[in-house]
């Protein structure tokens, strides 16, 4: 197991290196640079800016400098938030996006699994229908529509919640719901399907017939086994939620990193793009690794060597 984890971590480093090189090359290949503006800057100004940010150096020297900086935990200076380091900008946005993402994730897991389980256990009852309806509706509404609808209802009509911003509990409710609704719907459907399948397995019948309490059958045999597909999608979903949603963060004016990434791309803010992409790659790779390890914990039949 330890050897497996170490091997995965070494792979992770390689993946990050490849990702950084591809991103760095793409960034420089895309037409338009950070200083291209509608009102063009004087050529002397562009030259001074290139010099200031090291963009006058050859491509591989720039990439090398980036890697050296990275080893020191320095992602360089942002161009779109001048005079601030990319590390500092990301570290300011990260806790906010992570708080929002984790809230949305927990909500999605709790709502999704309980709805899915309830629907499966009471198949073809009204609970099942409500659950299926919920998951169909929220799986079909795009995040930005849901976000605006929530805002119209809870801020503009009812005046219960502020339209956006960050800092209080009331400001997290709508964005967390807008963000968590789709994964909740998704998890509910997967849980329902996999629970229905597990319930028909021989070992469940065996467990019942040997006289185990229904509660024990439910938790030890059904729940545990039906969660494997859920864990599979929960990993990427977690990574997805924690890296932030551009749309939800923009609509609710949340100062998270989802907005930064897109802003970075539009501004050709090379430092910010590199920082965000590497961060995303890191979170996604770690989430996948955790999922693989969790398989072993949930299902002892899965062994790594």
């Amino acid at each position: 197991m330890t050897r497996y984890v170490i091997r995965r971590i070494l792979w992770l480093l390689l993946v990050l290196l490849v990702v950084s090189f591809i991103t760095f090359s793409l960034m420089h290949l895309v037409p338009g640079g950070p200083w291209d503006r509608e009102k063009q800057l004087a050529p002397q100004v562009v030259e001074a800016l290139n010099r200031k940010y090291g963009l006058d150096k050859p491509f591989f020297v720039q990439y090398g400098n980036f890697l050296i900086g990275l080893l020191h935990g320095d992602l360089g200076i942002s161009y779109s938030f001048q005079n601030r380091s990319v590390t500092q900008i990301l570290m300011q946005g990260l806790p906010i996006t992570a708080t929002l993402g984790i809230t949305a994730f927990i909500a999605a897991i709790l709502i999704g699994i309980s709805l899915g389980m309830a629907a499966a256990l009471k198949q073809n009852s009204w609970i099942d229908y409500v659950s299926v309806m919920f998951s169909t509706i929220f799986a079909s509404i795009p995040g930005f529509v849901l976000a605006i609808l929530l805002m119209v209802v809870f801020s503009v009509l009812l005046h219960w919640l502020p339209t956006g911003g960050w800092g209080s509990v009331s400001q997290i409710i709508m964005p967390a719901f807008a963000l968590g609704a789709l994964p909740a719907a998704f998890i509910a459907r997967i849980t329902r399907a996999s629970t229905l399948e597990v319930m028909r397995q021989d070992y469940v019948r065996t467990a019942r017939s040997k006289g185990l309490l229904e509660r024990v059958v439910l938790i030890r045999h059904i729940l545990r086994n039906s969660l494997i597909p859920v864990v599979t999608i929960a990993g990427p979903e977690f990574a997805n939620l924690v890296t932030g949603s551009v749309i939800v963060e923009t609509i609710f004016s949340i100062p998270g990193i989802g907005r930064l990434f897109v802003q970075g791309i539009f501004a050709r803010d090379y430092g910010l793009i590199m920082g965000s992409v590497l961060f995303y790659a890191f979170v996604i790779a770690i989430a996948n690794m955790v999922v693989d390890i969790l398989y072993g914990v949930i299902d002892p039949r899965i062994v790594y060597n």
């Binding site: 895309v30 037409p31 338009g32 640079g33 291209d36 503006r37 509608e38 009102k39 063009q40 800057l41 004087a42 050529p43 002397q44 100004v45 030259e47 001074a48 800016l49 010099r51 200031k52 161009y79 779109s80 938030f81 001048q82 005079n83 601030r84 900008i89 300011q92 946005g93 795009p142 930005f144 529509v145 605006i148 805002m151 119209v152 801020s155 503009v156 009509l157 005046h159 502020p162 339209t163 956006g164 911003g165 960050w166 800092g167 923009t250 609509i251 609710f252 004016s253 100062p255 907005r259 930064l260 802003q263 539009f266 501004a267 050709r268």
Partner: protein, 551 residues
């Protein structure tokens, strides 16, 4: 992408509709009565260092915290702020040859930490603006100062050489109340440049002590009516009155700049009483005007910005003046204004109303006239439009620009039977494409840096000029511009620029379309708002010291 924008606009309509239904019961006519103004800055300013700033949001912040030697009145005439008077040749502030400017400073001007503002604070700021290592976007505006361009271009030099060049810059402070600036050539608009933010006074001790973090409160020391007390990145900024302000004290107890990037969300925040001033989503202007509750809260005013279609005059068929004139005649500008909900004014000439040099009589001969357009095409040898090379129209792909491009395509098809290809591009790619002169025909706009024709003509239409993307070249224009740029007699100078603009309009390297108009909602309790054609990101930002909240 297109489907998404349709959904978005449907949503905007849905939202406006729901607002109409609910507004009657949710709208109050009175605010809280607290002297707090809440406006939307939309995005995080890139930075708020006056020397380095160049965007509208940055300007809106800096204007609250700093006051320069000179400033602008609401009619955009110059006003002496930290200077006692506007220098003229008559009051000996400008030498007879127009090369030396002497500013006398008021003696009562203080920084927010109560230190005195002296001429050396201006010397420091101007030299810092020109520092090659800082690479300030507006540095080139000040290249007429003696030694300025040499210092700014010294990127490759050693520190000792840079220091020598810095010391050679023609800016000095003979005493605490006198600032002297020497120019290479006479520059009639130099006083306008001295009223802009890049040369507001700065504190050398603070910047040396705090480095890049000098712009974080409470280090952000200014000499203006407000102090920046809080900056939560990507969220909001809070301003409070500067207790040591030397001028008339502001009425407001607080200004909040929120950073709501989404236009629908900003409107919702306005409805929910979180904003006192807000824009409306693109395309909902008409619905807003017919809304009984919202229509009295609409504020519209002209901006010094003109939008136009620019030809690349080196590419056929646009190397033919007659073709350019013909296409100018073939576009019904009023229809576009109607499509845009009536916002904006038809533009038949380049310099917008509200600027010196605006000429209402100009351009009428190339106004909408299909018959004339066809005649001009005949003369150009294109009586059969199928003989025209394929025409491609490029634009930065935004919702607003897409409407404009489709409008142009329809106009060309309906009025002349010409098919044009649309070429939407991502914003930065588009800008590089234009800057490299690869386009054939493209959409563009120009906003005033300062209210003078010399900011509107030579940089755009001079041969080889930095922002000349039509690649237009006319020796007569160049000769006129060369004289006008240095002409100290204002009447002669404006006449030269008028002639120059007329030349441009006749040669038609651009099809002027409309002058921008700002369209905003303002809560009825916001009083004393004074807007100008040169406001930054937020409306009326140049006069927030006069705004108050009605009880």
């Amino acid at each position: 992408m297109r489907r998404k924008s349709i959904i978005l606009s449907l949503l905007a309509i849905l939202m406006t509709a729901s607002l109409v239904l609910t507004s009657a019961c949710t709208q109050g006519t009175k605010g809280t009565g607290e002297q707090i103004l809440r406006v939307n800055l939309a995005g995080e300013p890139a930075q708020i260092d006056p020397n380095q700033a160049s965007w509208a949001a940055e300007k809106s912040v800096i204007t609250q915290v700093f006051v320069g030697l000179l400033g602008f009145n609401q009619d955009l005439s110059l006003r002496a702020d930290v200077a006692t008077v506007i220098p003229t040749i008559a009051n000996e502030g400008i030498s007879a040859d127009g090369l030396t400017y002497t500013f006398t400073l008021r003696t009562n001007v203080t920084w927010s930490d109560d230190k005195k503002v002296t001429a050396s604070d201006f010397v420091y700021s101007i030299k810092r603006e020109l520092n090659p290592d800082l690479a300030c976007a507006y540095a080139s505006f000040y290249f007429d100062i003696v030694g300025a361009e040499a210092y700014f271009s010294a990127t490759d030099k050693t520190d000792a050489e840079k220091t020598a060049l810095e010391n050679a810059v023609g800016v000095s402070a003979p005493d605490d109340e006198t600032l002297q600036i020497k120019l290479n050539d006479p520059l009639p608009t130099f006083l306008d440049l001295m009223a802009l933010w890049p040369v507001y006074p700065l504190r050398e001790d603070i910047i040396t002590q705090y480095g890049d973090s000098w712009t974080d409160p409470p280090n952000y020391i200014g000499d203006g009516p407000y102090l920046l007390t809080e900056w939560v990145h990507l969220d909001h900024m809070t301003f409070k009155p500067n207790p040591n302000y030397w001028g008339t004290k502001p009425n407001l107890a607080e200004i909040d700049f929120k950073m709501i990037a989404d236009a629908n969300a900003a409107l919702a925040a306005y409805y929910n009483g979180e904003l006192d001033i807000s824009g409306v989503p693109v395309g909902t202007e008409k619905a807003t005007m017919t809304n009984a509750v919202l229509s009295p809260e609409i504020l519209r005013y002209n901006d010094l910005t003109t939008f136009a279609f620019q030809f690349n005059v080196t590419k056929p068929p646009f190397d033919n003046k007659l073709v350019r004139q013909a296409l100018s005649c073939a576009v019904d500008r009023q229809t576009l204004i109607d499509i845009r909900g009536g916002v904006g004014k038809v533009a038949l000439s380049w310099i917008p109303p509200g600027m010196p040099g605006y000429d209402a009589t100009l351009g009428a001969e190339y106004a909408f006239n299909v018959t004339k357009a066809k005649e001009l095409l005949d003369q150009a040898g294109y009586s059969d439009v199928s003989q025209l090379p394929e025409i491609k129209f490029s634009y930065s792909d935004t919702a607003g620009n897409r409407t404009i491009a489709q409008f142009l395509q329809a106009q060309m098809q309906q009025n002349l039977g010409i098919n044009i290809t649309l070429d939407p591009q991502e914003s930065k790619s588009f800008q590089q494409y234009i800057n490299a002169g690869k386009h054939m025909w493209a959409w563009f706009g120009w906003g005033a840096d300062y209210p003078d024709p010399d900011n509107w003509l030579p940089q755009l239409f001079g041969t080889g000029a930095g922002n000349n993307h039509t690649l237009y070249s006319n020796p007569t224009f160049d000769a006129l511009a060369a004289v006008a740029l240095k002409e100290l007699d204002n009447t002669t100078r404006l006449q030269d620029w008028a002639d120059a603009q007329k030349l441009v309009m006749d040669d038609a390297p651009i099809v002027t379309m409309f002058y921008r108009e700002r369209f905003l909602l303002v809560k009825p309790w916001v009083k004393g708002l004074k807007t100008t054609g040169m406001d930054g990101q937020v409306a009326g930002d140049m006069f927030y010291n006069e705004v108050y909240i009605a009880k």
